[in-house]
Amino acid sequence: MSTLATTKDDKNAGIEVTELLALLEKFQNLELHDFQLEAKNLELRVDGGVAGIPGLKFPRAIPTKPTALLQQTFTPPIEKYSSDIVEVKLGATKSEGGTRGRSLTLGGEKAPAFYTFESPIIHKPVVTLDVFDMEVPLSKAVKMHVKEVMGDPAAWAKLAVEKFGADMVTVHLISIDPLLKDAPAKSTLKTIEDVLQAVDVPLVIGGCGDPEKDTALFEEVSQAFPNERFLLSSFTRDMNIENISKLAKKNNHAVLAFTPMDLNMARELNRKLYDYLGKEDIVMDLSTAALGYGLDYAFTNMERARLSGLLGDGELAHPMSSGTTNAWAAREAWLKMDDKWEPRELRGPLWEVTTALTLLLSGVDIFMMIHPAAVKTLKDVINNLSSGKKADPSKYLDWVSAKI
């Protein structure tokens, strides 16, 4: 710009314009506002000094229509994060004192979910499939895949791992629910033993939702299976957590801390748990609402928790779990609708997929799911996102003329 400014004092305005044109040619990638400024100055000079020179075109058009690309560089906007998400290990192999074929690690993230321009994937998110210890009402689209194994949790677990590709299995011990069979907590130990025999993946032990029965359940299970490193699902604010937390720590199990969509409650529960457990023992369940039924709250809640965790809020820097099966609480997932929305056999699992993928992008580390097609798709996407393969743009624009 200073070079251009000095030309104003030249006596021969005609030469000034020619030089300016040459300079513009040379500095085509100058800032837009610089161009405008110079064009304005130039305009004044042209009016005063160059009028009437034949062949000289009004120069304003020249800077506004570049003749070659104005090369720019995009600087990737990298942020600094002050802390990593805690790593939580699930399942214990024989050498670690358990019986599992392998263990899995959740968490460890150094950047928001799949911002691989900032950090590679540390541990891929995992999927644990739901298995129930008694017959349960399920949507038609789900039931068709598991009806053979309903009521047989060991066979169901085997199907989940061997056929549906589950990384883990959640054994939901709902038979202890006072409103269902009200079975004693001790009676579940046989079911768990059968599942441990049937599959060698890490397990989530799921309660029935009744605080007292679940407390009894976690006391029994922690002691009966020391060192298996189960994920106990879940510890809530209305449970007396002291004894079960101590037992979980003593017997080397991890804990799922459930709160109903409120980050302050999540912090508060975690603080209570820190009295008995290490950070590396706690996974958070911040509540999952279905697509169309509050998914926006779940998504934003988890996204905020993850960003806060990375930016130094240690009480939220835990791996996150999602009860993605809740997607089926949306009636659009299971209801027989007008023909134009059918078939529900596709609509239903797509509902679970969409719920899962939205939360995957908010930072969820472990998904509790039920439909095999949804599980397969989520795992495919996670693998695709983790492949590290670069896109080849050479044939990209073919979509315009592709005959579909």
């Binding site: 995009f74 799949f114 134009k340 596709l346 992008l361 896109a391 979509w399 579909i404």
Partner: protein, 472 residues
């Protein structure tokens, strides 16, 4: 590159001090400070301040305009009533404020489809409609692709399309003469043009200027190329630009997410104006590379890639599938993501009446979570039931999570029975509770003295339930 620090959060004072401070109320606000507060919340526009439009305030108007300019430019496609606004985003994450201009969804047609097929695809796009908690969810645009590469065919196709629909259009052809043949049919309709590339940009820029159209800049997986194009087009005089960083959906999916994320962060956090443009996603590209995948699997993949793009900052998507099961999850996801997080989750706790209930009509309760309430209310309305509905304070959570998290308790149900005076309106003492609240049925009976009937788990079954079970 023109980079400046990202805009700081605005306070009403920042706005107020630049207003004329006449307190004239012509904007329908009590005073200038109230107006400034509305402007900061994006509920009022500085164009509504009459004195500010006077010449002596031009300088302040321009400063305000610049202060309020969204980091992602708002681009309008089409003209008139159906014009579609895209971009205009203020923030990267929705919890930082709220997202404006929901992702526009386009469906494609081509110049080698039969007329019947074109008309049928347009009609299904136009007639797409789903009622969801008080909103009608619709599709937005038609994309016309030249698969023939023939200018006459493209022209005829655009003619047919524009005669069939008022929806705004995206015209797609990489050859500028073919594209112009299409634009000339609708020279004033402001279609979005696809696309300027690193090779054809000059011809495309001329078309965009000549016909005053927004223009897509496409540089697949090449962000340097993309900002180079954006800069060049801007200097050329094209301001309404949409960016296509490339949509890849196989094992290269992470490039897609990274590019969209980096562009949006550069726009909102760094203030990079070349990145501050609406983003175009192309899930339909999967059809061009489907291999021997079955059509339903292609649709499935197109659907979930569209969903990920909606979640990750995309302002426009073009889809090929018209099937309801593909579209429904995504228009609902879009509605969810673009819901204003500043608005309350809960509705008022009160007694609602449906139809014309009398003293023997059934009494239900539901949660004050807005989504739950609207769902139940819609079901009661559509089944023409005469009933009372108690809205119980569940701290804005759904029935199942409210019960699990002890936000929806028997005490609160009993309180609602007392507070609403329902006991003076009906002679019976029977409360039908949601199936998902069955866990607290005993406690409710104890605390309220009412008999509890456990109703269906989903409110769509209420009508059937009443027919089968209800006796006052």
């Amino acid at each position: 590159m023109s980079q400046k620090a990202a805009k700081k959060e605005l306070s009403p004072i920042d706005i107020y001090k630049l207003l004329p401070k006449t307190n004239c109320k012509e904007c329908n606000q009590e005073n200038c400070m109230a107006f400034a507060t509305k402007v900061v919340a994006r509920e009022a526009n500085i164009d509504q301040c009459t004195p500010l439009q006077k010449p002596e305030h031009t300088k302040n108007f321009n400063i305000l305009h610049d202060l309020l300019k969204p980091p992602v430019r708002e681009v309008t496609i089409g003209v008139g009533d159906k014009a579609c606004k895209v971009g205009g985003k203020l923030v990267m994450y929705r919890h930082e404020f709220t997202y404006f201009n929901p992702t526009a969804v386009a469906i494609d047609v081509t110049d080698e489809m039969t007329e019947a097929e074109i008309v049928s695809r347009i009609k299904s796009t136009e007639s797409f409609s789903y009622e969801y908690i008080g909103n009608t969810l619709k599709l937005d645009l038609i994309a016309v692709r030249s698969t023939s590469g023939n200018a006459d065919k493209f022209k005829n196709c655009v003619k047919k399309v524009s005669e069939t629909t008022n929806l705004p259009l995206i015209l797609c052809a990489l050859n500028s003469s073919v594209l112009e043949a299409g634009i000339m049919v609708i020279p004033k309709a402001r279609p979005l043009l696809y696309a300027a590339t690193l090779t054809n940009w000059k011809e495309m820029a001329e078309l965009a200027l000549m016909y005053n159209c927004p223009l897509v800049a496409s540089a697949p997986n090449d962000l340097n190329g993309l900002v180079t194009l954006a800069k060049t087009l801007q200097v050329y005089g094209v301001q309404d630009i949409v960016l296509d960083p490339g949509t890849f959906f196989n094992d290269d999916l992470s490039d897609t997410l990274n590019n969209f994320t980096m562009l949006r962060r550069a726009a909102t956090k760094v203030g990079n104006e070349l990145a501050g443009l609406p983003l175009l996603g192309l899930p339909l590209g999967i059809w061009a590379n489907k291999g021997d995948l079955a059509d339903d699997l292609v649709r499935w993949r197109e659907a979930y890639v569209a969903g990920m793009l909606i979640t990750r900052f995309t302002d426009i998507i073009i889809l090929h599938s018209t099937e309801g099961w593909v579209q429904l999850p995504n228009v609902i996801l879009r509605q969810n993501i673009y819901t204003d997080p500043r608005k309350p989750v809960a509705v008022a706790t009160e007694l609602k009446t449906f139809g014309t209930p009398n003293e023997t009509s059934p009494v239900f309760f539901t949660s004050n979570f807005a989504l739950t309430y609207y769902t139940v209310a819609a079901d009661l309305e559509s089944s023409k039931i005469n009933a009372y509905l108690l809205i119980v304070d569940a701290e804005g959570s759904a029935i199942d999570s409210g019960v699990a998290g002890r936000k929806l308790t028997a005490e609160k149900v009993a309180d609602a029975i007392k507070a609403t005076g329902i006991e003076n309106k009906v002679t019976h003492r029977k409360l039908i509770i949601p199936g998902k609240a069955s866990r607290i049925s005993g406690e409710i009976e104890e605390l309220s003295g009412w008999q509890v009937l456990v109703g269906p788990r989903d409110s769509s079954e209420i009508a059937k339930y009443l027919t089968d079970k209800w006796q006052p």
